[in-house]
Amino acid sequence: MIELRQVCKTFETGAKDKSVHAVRDVSLTIADGEIFGIIGFSGAGKSTLVRCINLLERPTSGSVNIDGQDLTKLSEKELRAARKKIGMIFQHFNLMNSRTVFENVAYPLLGAKMTREEKRSKVMELLEIVGLSDKEKAYPSQLSGGQKQRVAIARALANDPKVLLCDEATSALDPQTTEDILKLLRELNAKLGLTIVLITHEMAVVKQVCTRVAVMENGYVVEEGSIYDVFSDPKQPITRRFIRTTTHIQGMEDMLANDPKALGLLPGDVVVRYDCSGDKTSQASVSRISREYGVDISIIFGNVEMLLGTPFGTMIVVFRGKDGPVKEALAAFEKTASRVEVICRV
């Protein structure tokens, strides 16, 4: 279990009153076996925060507990031993170009009390897991980005860590490769019970693998919760912005704001956003309410996401009819949804 308590990290830039507060008063608890996402725009402090977990950045104040051990209180030597049990992968892979794939994966085992054969079988086992058994003699420069990240993952797992920190691990990869790497991370999580902390600026990444997520802005964690809760009911404006980037709903809302006529809307129409979770059957309620209240309801946008195996739907619908019935229909509509938001009245 990883526990961050009131972690702050301030960088002194030298100039007076010009210190940079990269991380401010962050307290997080990450349970064993979780895939925990930390999302934020660049400069939000998420990279600094993840570096505070293995003390690559020493927090200015606060404590970092991993399995009850406060890393900030360890000696340099004890810290190095603790770090061997915390794997880390990076955006730019950070492999050693002068070493082959095999030697890169074997690096963390240098100096370990293992025979040459034991090391060899360990490295080959790791390469097998990441699907690169045939590349042991290749140099990093001969590999694609996705393959490099696989080597980096194998290297990070060499000392059988319980935790894997991923610092923008998929940000330099194309969408297909990103998906493959995320799939591998999910497998490792399931197979080895690995706790994964994943830093990213892409909501799509969080959506695909994380069980819980924290949203960072200006060094603060502004929102935190299960992926389902955060997606279905975002509290902070920044969280909504992130979610919009993955649902295409942003484009629809822009269209509504700029050119409602193009969508064939008439004066008096009410445009409503409707969110619902898996067990509620949205289609049936649309036609039922339409009939009951004598109101035309048309769906102009629809999207369904799978979050931790539960479907989550978003629709934009237009109510057309007399003021009174529309009001009543809206009230009835609200009862069937997780959330209903009137976007605009034309």
Partner: protein
């Protein structure tokens, strides 16, 4: 071959035994000075990198002092350095003249130069790789030997090549103070006795020497390490 050279370079043929001795003197001076400078240069270069701000063994004072000392020594012209070092050379080497007397000032002049070459080669090592090694629990010394000196090897060899070529140039200058070697040979016969053929042959020999060293350096530095 000698008969063939006689009409075009008569003086060179006449002084051939001197040339051979001078050639090996140059090799001795350059070889010894290079070996000693390599040790100190790598050491100081590494110290400069690891003690730099944000380095793995950050130390403001050591870094600032070493940086300044290197600059001071690099600013002194070699001919003046030889004169300045005379008493010290006599103390360390037992003599201030001849090949032996030239080696000490050569080392003093080359160490700062090579330290800078090592420094810039090691600065090229990806900071991310250093960070990865730290994250894997490597100690600072392990990072020096297993990461810096390995990842930076190509750049270090390129720096060493430049340094050795530079050493050959300096060793010729050591001839001015009775240092021996090819520079001394070319000045005594080629310049002072106006035996132009001696100067030309010496130049060609030095050119070949430099070319060989540079090619060797190029091959070694581009090899996969």
């Amino acid at each position: 071959m000698f008969e063939m050279l006689k009409p075009i370079a008569p003086n060179f043929v006449k002084t051939y035994p001197e040339f051979v001795k001078a050639f090996f003197d140059t090799l001795e001076m350059v070889g010894t000075a290079a070996a000693v400078s390599a040790l100190f240069g790598i050491f100081f270069g590494v110290v400069l990198v690891v003690t730099a701000p944000g380095g793995i063994m950050e130390n403001k004072w050591i870094n600032a002092i070493l940086d300044k000392v290197i600059n001071v020594f690099r600013a002194i012209p070699f001919v003046i350095l030889i004169a300045l070092l005379l008493p010290l050379t006599r103390m360390v080497m037992g003599t201030a003249i001849g090949t032996k007397g030239a080696i000490f000032p050569l080392v003093v002049a080359t160490v700062p130069f090579f330290s800078r070459q090592i420094h810039s080669a090691l600065c090229e090592v990806d900071k991310g790789v250093i960070e990865a090694a730290q994250a894997m629990g490597s100690s600072p010394w392990e990072i020096v030997f297993r990461v810096y000196l390995r990842e930076g090897l190509g750049g270090m060899i390129r720096g060493a090549t430049i340094t050795v070529v530079n050493l050959i140039t300096l060793s010729a200058m050591a001839g001015c103070v009775g240092g021996g070697g090819l520079g001394d040979y070319a000045i005594r016969y080629g310049f002072q006795r106006k035996m132009t053929d001696v100067t030309i042959v010496t130049c060609i020999v030095l050119l070949i020497l430099v070319t060989i060293i540079q090619s060797l350096g190029n091959v070694l530095s581009t090899k996969k390490h």
